[in-house]
């Protein structure tokens, strides 16, 4: 089985993208709406609770890793939902270009974090379902990749190879 890849079908929520995208930084973007829709002044998208510790844990594992939240401290909000975990963990990312060197590393860090949080072995964690949604801010192109962790990583590898050559994203 290979990961399912869709291009330009998904759009990030309004306000989710970073104000500026610099060089090789990978930005973690929020993917959820507020828990209440009655506050007109507070419509900014929310991060899921899993993301709260993610950039920090990823940087802790690899200190120079350029990964940060797209939204500045103070405007960031997190939602916890206390039904049991959806099997599929979701990661939203924004990068200047899809040839970013760190996309694979950041995604792997996310899989590793889930392994630690829920007690999976590293091998088991590679088999869990994952969805990664990526925006290329330079072109506004978007890609969504869905599959087992290992399949998503493989798809990211191919994506990087295609985009490093300067060619458009190939068909799956």
């Amino acid at each position: 089985m290979a990961a399912r890849i869709t291009e330009n079908e998904w759009t990030p929520l309004e306000g989710a993208l970073p104000a500026t995208t610099s060089g090789d930084t990978v930005y973690v973007i929020p993917t959820r709406l507020p828990v209440r829709d009655d506050d007109e002044d507070d419509k900014l998208p929310r991060y899921t609770d899993q993301m709260r510790y993610f950039p920090k844990e990823a940087r802790n594992a690899a200190p120079a890793l350029p990964v940060e939240f797209s939204m500045p401290s103070g405007s960031r909000k997190f939602i916890s939902e206390y039904s049991i975990d959806p099997d599929m963990w979701a990661l939203g990312l924004a990068v200047l270009t899809l040839s970013n060197d760190w996309l694979i590393f950041v995604t792997q860090s996310f899989i590793d974090m889930r392994a630690r949080a829920q007690g999976w072995s590293p091998e088991e964690a590679q088999e869990l379902p994952l969805k990664v949604s990526i925006v290329e801010t330079k072109t506004s192109r978007t890609v969504e990749i869905e599959g087992k962790g290992s399949e998503v990583i493989e798809a990211l590898r191919e994506l990087k190879a295609k985009n490093s050559g300067g060619k458009p994203i190939g068909k799956k």
């Binding site: 828990v35 209440r36 510790y53 920090k56 909000k77 939602i79 916890s80 206390y82």
Partner: protein, 312 residues
């Protein structure tokens, strides 16, 4: 006028650490909590039974589960069991019932907890049977009175409620502050949740110790102490509750529900009887009729009938 749907009271969260969301950690958490609750249910059932001495040999026995729902058969069994209990209660001294009642209640509550933790475990049926066993004895000795609330008739009978296998989930927005340095946890790269760090003791604005949050304690201001880092929830905002089939908090369940007694305003005698504690739920004397899952149950309630309770 159309009668509103039947009401339900839900517990949303329980005190203590947030249960693991999934994976092997969650499995272990559920099994450990479930087994200890089941052991507690067994222990207190045995204590209650032991208090009966020789009389325990002639205590009424819970009917085996029906193979298919059969309202008439169930009613007949309930009535037969009610007669058996009436006869048995004639010979059991009141002091003994008074003494064993707290144990049987404890056994019932622990059995409910055990089933909530173990519903997907191989011990699920054991825990389920422990609820029936305890509810049957509790009802036999002390009855199962219904009560009036919001112009309706309600019950907390575990026998009726445990059958509904749904739970509650609520979306919550909150900030977490690092317990060591006070930064938002996502902005503090230094302190990892769950690990110990040195922290200098000081008084907070409200005069409490910043190490243990007590007004007076042995921590000396200015001295360094080892403290486990964690996130302190701030600015909590609750969203709407929703019904789910597997709540992250295993005990976030229905804790009471409304029975269909029609319009109470036209039934003064009934209301008076209920207020005197004379109307009893009899379900707990009867056999199990099987469980109702999320999909079967959802169409029976409407959102406005969910009344949300606090921590249980």
């Amino acid at each position: 006028m159309a009668r509103r749907g039947r009401g339900v009271g839900l517990t949303l969260m329980t005190w203590g650490p947030i249960p693991p969301s999934g994976g092997p950690h969650r499995d272990r958490y559920l099994e450990a909590n479930g087994r200890s609750a089941l052991a507690d249910a067994d222990e207190h059932y045995a204590i209650a039974l032991g208090m009966l001495g020789d009389l325990a040999a002639s205590i009424p026995i819970v009917h085996s589960p029906l193979t298919k729902p059969d309202r008439d058969a169930r009613r007949a069994i309930q009535q037969e069991k009610a007669r058996e209990w009436a006869a048995f209660n004639e010979v059991v001294p009141d002091e003994i019932v008074e003494k064993l009642a707290p144990h049987i209640m404890r056994s019932e509550n622990s059995a409910v907890a055990a089933f909530n933790f173990l519903e997907d475990h191989e011990l699920a049926e054991t825990a389920h049977a422990a609820i029936h066993r305890a509810a049957f004895m509790r009802s036999g000795f002390t009855g199962c009175a219904v009560y009036i609330k919001n112009d309706g008739v309600w019950t907390r009978c575990s026998m009726q409620i445990h059958q509904i296998r749904v739970g509650a989930s609520v979306g919550i927005e909150s900030d977490f502050e690092c317990s060591i340095c006070g930064l938002l946890v996502e902005d503090c790269d230094v302190h990892m949740s769950g690990l110990p760090y040195p922290k200098i003791a000081a008084k907070t604005e409200s005069g409490k110790c910043n190490i243990c949050d007590a007004d007076t304690c042995a921590h000396e201001v200015g001295k360094s102490y080892e403290v486990i880092a964690y996130g302190n929830a701030k600015n909590i905002k609750m969203g709407e509750a929703s019904i789910v089939d597997r709540p992250q908090y295993p005990m976030a369940r229905i804790h009471e529900h409304e029975l269909d007694f029609g319009n109470l305003r036209e039934q003064h005698d009934l209301v008076a009887n209920i207020e005197r504690g004379e109307i009893q739920c009899q379900e707990c004397l009867g056999p199990c009729e099987g469980l109702i899952d999320f999909r079967q149950w959802m169409p029976r309630v409407s959102r406005k009938d969910l009344s949300i309770g606090g921590a249980g």
